[in-house]
Amino acid sequence: MNRNVIEVGDLVKIFDGLAAVDGISFEVGAGEIFGFLGPNGAGKTTTIKILTTLLHPTSGKVSVNGFDPVADSENVRRSFGIVFQDPSLDDELTAYENLEFHGVLYGMPKKMRRERIENLMKLVELWDRRGDLVKHYSGGMKRRLEIVRGILHHPKILFLDEPTLGLDPQTREHIWDYIKNLNEKERLTVFFTTHYMEEADRAAGRIAIIDNGKIVARGNPAELKKEMNASSLEDVFLAFTGHEIRAENSEAADTMRMRHRLWTKRK
């Protein structure tokens, strides 16, 4: 039996008249690796923020590990780990202190916390640099540290928002091997976004493609390729989302967002 750990029904999120997420529904089963793909500004990060209690939905039904992120946020927060799209480390603390902070916040007992930090830091080859301030880390080192932090407290679900952005192929492979390993051994459920289609193809059991806030395709990568008669997932992606560049679109939205900010400030 494959219980769903994430269930989303007709989810809508509207920012000042713009529907960033426009009535999407999907579910992710326990132990699945689920890829959430889409062009820039499609609504991926917004969806993750709603699932992880950072944003309230405008409407729709959401359940994470059986709990409602709005009504039961603390139980939802206990269920997941996350690697955000944007940096989220404290630059003025050392790498070790960042992890220590996380472990304490998540209520990990001291001994277990220390062991786990050491094991994971060794795994991503940061142990020797544990005492460095994070501001002296390279981009790739920071990313590895964030991934370690995301799984430190043994979460049931791991959200990865473009986790391998800016990493070299070696590190990317390494990290995916490790995530897949956790997925198999600990039945960790993984919900990730990426713009690297071959990465999604290799890692995901199932994917959904979102465009302009709406899900336009879903299924197993191999089946989708066959269905669309495409040689790569990239071709499938382009077939569903078109060839237009979204930068313009999201730039307009960003300008609107800026304006909105300025206006709300003035009130």
Partner: protein
């Protein structure tokens, strides 16, 4: 409990690691002490006020605690901009506890700053009237610090970036300081200024500090403690509420 502790510890580490910030924030009180203390000293004396440094020192200590505390509260905006706020907001810890940890951390560093400025006042000739009263003075510094860290947190919870920072500095923090009786005696003022000073919470902090250090208070220890305590609780509740409503 441990969540509050680790949040508190983080504030302290960040504070003590930024040496330039500490040094920078000590420059202003020193300038005020020297320029105002020695500049206005003679006039103040001639007008029958007595030793101005003795009057001014508690006010300057209160000022540095005020600035440091509001700044600590407002640090949330930094955390928002650099992304770290997300890390604390998705943790399975109630927002209220996060608020407590942050506020205590900010209040601790602001009080520390007050103590350092107190040592500086000794260097320019300030002499408090008793050693025991120092403990009461530190208690007042801490109360001022909690109150204004909570105020800073409340404000920063509603700000997305630094654009409002100047506004707060010029239209809130500066008036709070200048109208608090930190620089001039509250006795014998025009009714308007007296009234304004009376609704400025910092007045009670300055008066409490002055009372503790030199015995020259106006409102009395009981009243000072009660008002500072009550406003702290109120601001804490407001700040906690606004903080709990943050979405990013």
């Amino acid at each position: 409990m441990s969540a509050i502790y680790i949040l508190w510890l983080r504030q302290l580490k960040r504070y003590f690691r930024s040496k330039s910030r500490i040094a920078g924030s000590l420059g202003q009180p020193l300038l005020f002490l020297v320029a105002l203390g020695f500049g206005f000293g003679p006039i103040y004396q001639k007008a029958g006020g007595g030793n101005y440094i003795e009057f001014l020192a508690p006010g300057i200590i209160a000022m540095s605690v005020l600035f440091s505390a509001v700044f600590s509260g407002i640090e949330i905006i930094w955390d928002r901009q650099f992304g770290f706020l997300k890390e604390t907001l998705v943790a399975p810890v109630s927002r209220f506890k996060i608020m407590i940890g942050r506020t205590l951390g900010g209040a601790t560093t602001a009080s520390f700053q007050g103590v350092v400025v107190f040592l500086m006042t000794l260097a320019v000739g300030f002499r408090p009237h008793g050693i025991l009263s120092l403990l009461l003075a530190i208690a007042f510094m801490f109360l001022i610090a909690v109150l204004f860290t909570a105020l800073g947190t409340a404000i920063a919870s509603r700000m997305e970036d630094f654009s409002g920072f100047q506004l707060i500095s010029n239209f809130l923090v500066m008036p709070l300081f200048f109208l608090s009786g930190a620089l001039f005696p509250l006795k014998g003022l025009s009714p308007t200024i007296s009234l304004i000073a009376a609704i400025d919470p910092l007045s009670y902090g300055v008066d409490g500090l002055r009372d503790a250090l030199t015995g020259a208070g106006v409102y009395g220890v009981g009243m000072n403690l009660t008002i500072l305590g009550a406003i702290s609780v109120l601001l804490f509740a407001i700040g906690g509420y606004l903080f709990s409503k943050i979405e990013i």
